[in-house]
């Protein structure tokens, strides 16, 4: 019997994997991909809780999260392309010009 807890645990695990990716990877594209993993974990929570409460609101929030994720991916990737033109690398440690 699958309960709400199973889905919450799964999305917690996925969110932690995404966080670890953001912190540990030294590649801008992989960092963006890890953010997508985190967004999807949250989406899963919304849908599962919406199903538990018997409302469609969870699915509607998921819809909006997906649109925001699309906008974020477009802007993020444009930034990555621009940064890559300047330094020829995707390692975030190379971009320290704004550091004190």
């Amino acid at each position: 019997m699958v309960s709400l807890n199973h889905f919450l645990i799964l999305s917690g695990v996925l969110f932690s994997i995404g966080t670890a990716g953001v912190f540990l990877r030294r590649n801008l594209i992989t960092v963006l991909l890890s953010i997508e993993v985190m967004l999807n974990a949250v989406n899963l929570t919304f849908v599962a809780v919406g199903r538990y409460l018997g409302t469609v609101d969870g699915q509607i929030i998921t819809f909006f999260v997906m649109t925001v994720a699309a906008a974020e991916a477009a802007i993020g990737l444009a930034l990555v392309i621009t940064l890559f033109r300047h330094r020829e690398t995707l390692n975030p440690d190379a971009y320290t010009a704004l550091k004190w």
């Binding site: 699958v2 889905f7 996925l14 540990l24 992989t30 991909l33 899963l44 699309a70 392309i81």
Partner: protein
């Protein structure tokens, strides 16, 4: 039956996400993320949300991941610099801090969930209600109409912003 499907999809999603993070080659990372999204779409079907499952496949796997693939191919950086191997990966203090934070987050999530009572899903009329696309559409275009329109402006702004940012200066 449902439990078996849940565990299969959950295992695929977790393993694929782990490999996304652990992969050296961004191309494989993108492909594995598509696998993970597919498994999540299966979970949405189990949750009586077929509309969300289809949007997941079309928007995420179909549109966003293709965008990522384009950029990976455009930049043509196949792997990370060899200087950042696994041995040096946890080198700088910032990274140690990050690793500690993500482990802490995982522990906190597990701790919070372990204190949660078991809550089972209802089975009957309301299930039929939430899986209906008509109801989603109705709520989206009446209750959430403003948010929906605001989203279209957001997409427009993102599109213009992406074009302006990625354009070559002359």
């Amino acid at each position: 039956m449902e439990a078996v499907a849940f565990y299969i999809f959950a295992a695929i999603a977790v393993v694929a996400s782990l490999l996304v993070v652990g992969q050296r080659n961004p191309m494989y990372s993108v492909m594995l993320l598509i696998v993970s999204f597919g498994a999540l779409a299966g979970l949405y079907v189990l949750l009586d949300a077929p509309f969300t499952a289809v949007t997941q496949i079309i928007i995420y796997a179909g549109a966003i991941m293709v965008l990522f693939l384009f950029v990976v191919m455009l930049l043509n950086v196949e792997r990370e610099d060899s200087a950042t191997s696994v041995a040096t990966m946890v080198g700088p203090t910032g990274m140690k801090l990050g690793a500690g934070l993500s482990v802490l987050l995982a522990i906190e999530v597990v701790w919070a969930l372990s204190r949660l009572g078991e809550s089972h899903f209802g089975h009957d009329a309301e299930t039929v209600n939430i899986s209906s696309v008509a109801r989603i559409g109705q709520a989206l275009f009446t209750q959430h109409a403003f948010a929906f329109e605001a989203t279209s402006i957001l997409i427009l702004v993102a599109m213009v912003g992406a074009v302006v940012l990625a354009r070559r200066e002359r």
